[in-house]
Amino acid sequence: RLILSHLSLQAPQWISEQGRSRGAIISQYCNRTMQLRRRRQSRPSIQHFPRSARPSIRGYGVETDAAGFEEEENKRDRLVNNLQNLSDSDRVRMLRAMPLSLSEKKEMLVLNKAEHSVSQNQIPCCSQLKYYIIIALRHGWYGWLSFLSSLQLWQTALKCVGGRFGTGVLSYFIFLRTLLFFNVFLFLVTGLLLVVPQAITHPDQDQNITVRSSWGLEVLTGAGYFSHSLLYYGYYNNQTLQTGHSCSASGNGTSCSSGLSYNMPLVYFFTIGAAFFITCIILVYSMSKSFGQSFRIDKSKGLLAIKVFSSWDFKVIKKSSVRLQRANIGTQLKELVAEVNRQEQKFPVLQRLFRLFIHMLAWIMCLGSTLACVLAVYYFSEHMHGAASSDPLLKEASLLAVPVVVSSINLLLPGFFNVVAWMEKYDSPSMLNYISISRNLLLKVSVLGVLCYHWLGRVATDPQSLGLECWESFVGQELYRFLLMDFIFMLLDTFFGEFLVFSQKALKRKRKPVFDIARNVLELIYGQTLAWLGVLFSPLLPAVQIIKLLFLFYMKKVSLKMNCQASGKPWRACQMTTIFITLLCFPAFLGATVCVTYTMWSITPSAGCGPFRGLKNMFQAGKRWVHRLAAVNPDLHWLASAHSYLVENPLFLFLCAGIFLIMIYFHSQVVDGQRKIIELLQEQIENVRRESCEYVTVSSSYV
């Protein structure tokens, strides 16, 4: 027995010498296909377990390819046999995942098909038909996948960027593309369901006012000619639209009464609700997928090995970038080796206190400047709305004042934060990254918060004080102006910060500027939040956002190529992408949803314009429809009562939230348990190794 165990120890040694030999791969996949078959058939068969001397690892699919060539042939036949008995999709997946060369896989497929066609003649005709249908479906599915992948927007451009700047900068452009798709979706939904029907039918007759501004500021302010157009909420009808007009011109008169009816308030309400709901689902899904890819249970150990094995970015193809990447990796490895091996340095207490003091000072400066800017925006917006000017040009231009101030704050303050962070000293560059992202985020969230308060708390509740008939259109215009100013300031920033040649000479810098990924992504998230806030008040705002994103892509790409160089700091692309998607979902989308829900639930719509005029709040549109349905059709009264109990009752929502939290807690406990299992398994491996060493010494003493 001891000699047997000694031999069995030789076998793993031999395998590791051959590496992942072909035989080992084949036998491993033989076992896998066997397991898959068993799982599909739910019938265990013990004789297929490979022979191994150690009883504890029997049945775990350990390959013991100790025999010679003949056994390999047998194994291959067994593998082909197993593959045959799997379903088509399983077989394809298994074949693809096998790390063998393509020619060998083709041989196996040929053998497979040969066996298959032999037995095919014996299949009755209906199964044959099913077989052909499945083949046709599979071809159709491949065709659909190819079509989807050919639709990939900007594939070559992204490849160029990735080839020169690496995965970090590439993730910014991929994020931009994702946002573009969200906006295209929103635009299609609102365009088809709201804009097109309203554009086809005639507008309300009492809204026939056109205010012409002769100064051409309309594109910037969104007012003037645009204020009574499809762009804003105020244009939309509150009646049920009928296509009676087109009917009367042709056809007989009797069929006109049954023209297409389109309940505009209801559709407006449900469209916005459905668009937000679907966006929420897509966001949460992509967030969880990204989180799953980047979350690792055991993050603290194995940093050096991970760095060495997985840090080379194969996407980088430009020679200078490759040289830069090599230099970066060299520096990072040196730093990591020094860090891992340095003795625990005990800083003197005074130095530690000093560093803490510097950190606190930096935070106070940042928070203080944020608070100052927020208060400035608050009072300035109040002042601007109070001030009345006689000169029409000045009046139009004053509409632009608050957006300009906010955009310049968004531009200048992050630079100030960078300067403040420069005076602090951080232990790791990733810590610095997180801190700067959180400061920037705090700034943007507070500015958006104060603006939402200004619009929903001041303008919406008291529109007469500002002389507005239609506050929703006004808010829509404001959001349009903010979006546009944000874009213009980004243009200026790119131009002055990256393009201008003399900036290099002026600051006597030898190096080109580095593309600040975090700051640019946060700008994108800010713009997208504005677009989401504005969809309710301006259904065509996603179109503006689409145009803006398209311009931004090409501008940033050109600026990058001409002016920037790749960064010297490490950038964990996977983790940062997860963080950005999470930021897009949590503060941005959630905030926009809360504002829109608040608007729909508690604010009175204006009495003179829009699809919800005359109602107490926008939510009533849905409620009235449900009640009307129930009144018309008595069988549906349960719908009305369900509506009043479930949707209007806050208890139901609390219950949902509670269940959600319990699920999250449960999952976090599962992850904790898995972490413990990993530690136990590692201990077990250590013990096995120690035992086998003892066996070797004991058995050699016998020999």
Partner: protein
């Protein structure tokens, strides 16, 4: 480069689609590029392109692991690193977007195994680190740093403490790195 652009027959195309992680567009593009490398000869499926020609591709030209890539994916009997079309597809499939972590880590292991003995020992790791950091003196690690680095790596990843990193240990380390899949990609 003759005008004879031999087209890929449909059944082969669908077979390649089934057996690799590449889409139809990617396979056709690979075919076009491979035919250009061959100089327009007929019958691309079995004839081989030498390593020097493969290394003229812009995606591989500057890569420090380019020679290892050719050696790993080559099925040539002469072990000269020449690739035929199917080897080329294998390469692209392993580096494609949808390839599984297992395939990528398997091939990464073989690429880093410079002496092809099935394990990563200290010599392999040293060559790997030198490939990563480059040849210039200021980026290279000193002998002391190299020794320290290798012993750290072995300490972290060698679970059975035999002084080498085998495939399972390598895959275990890789599974803890979320950036591996996104960095182990080549796009034509």
């Amino acid at each position: 480069m003759g005008g004879t652009s031999s087209k890929l027959p449909k059944d082969l195309l669908s077979e390649y689609q089934e057996l690799t992680f590449l889409t139809k567009q990617e396979i056709l593009l690979a075919h076009k590029i491979f035919s250009e490398l061959q100089g327009g000869e007929n019958g691309p499926y079995s004839s081989r392109v030498s390593m020097q020609k493969i290394l003229t591709l812009p995606e591989l030209k500057a890569n420090p692991f380019r020679k290892r890539l050719c050696h790993v994916f080559s099925t040539s009997d002469m072990k000269d690193g020449s690739l035929n079309f199917e080897d080329f597809l294998d390469l692209l499939s392993a580096f494609s977007d949808t390839a599984t972590l297992e395939i990528k880590s398997h091939y990464a292991f073989r690429i880093f195994d410079f002496d092809d003995d099935g394990t990563l020992d200290a010599r392999d790791l040293e060559k790997l680190v030198n490939c990563l950091t480059g040849e210039t003196d200021d980026t290279r690690l000193t002998a002391e740093e190299m020794r320290q680095l290798i012993s750290n790596i072995l300490e972290e990843s060698d679970i059975d403490k035999d002084g080498t990193v085998n495939l399972s240990e390598f895959q275990h380390v890789i599974s803890r790195s979320p950036d591996f899949v996104s960095s182990f990609k080549i796009v034509l």
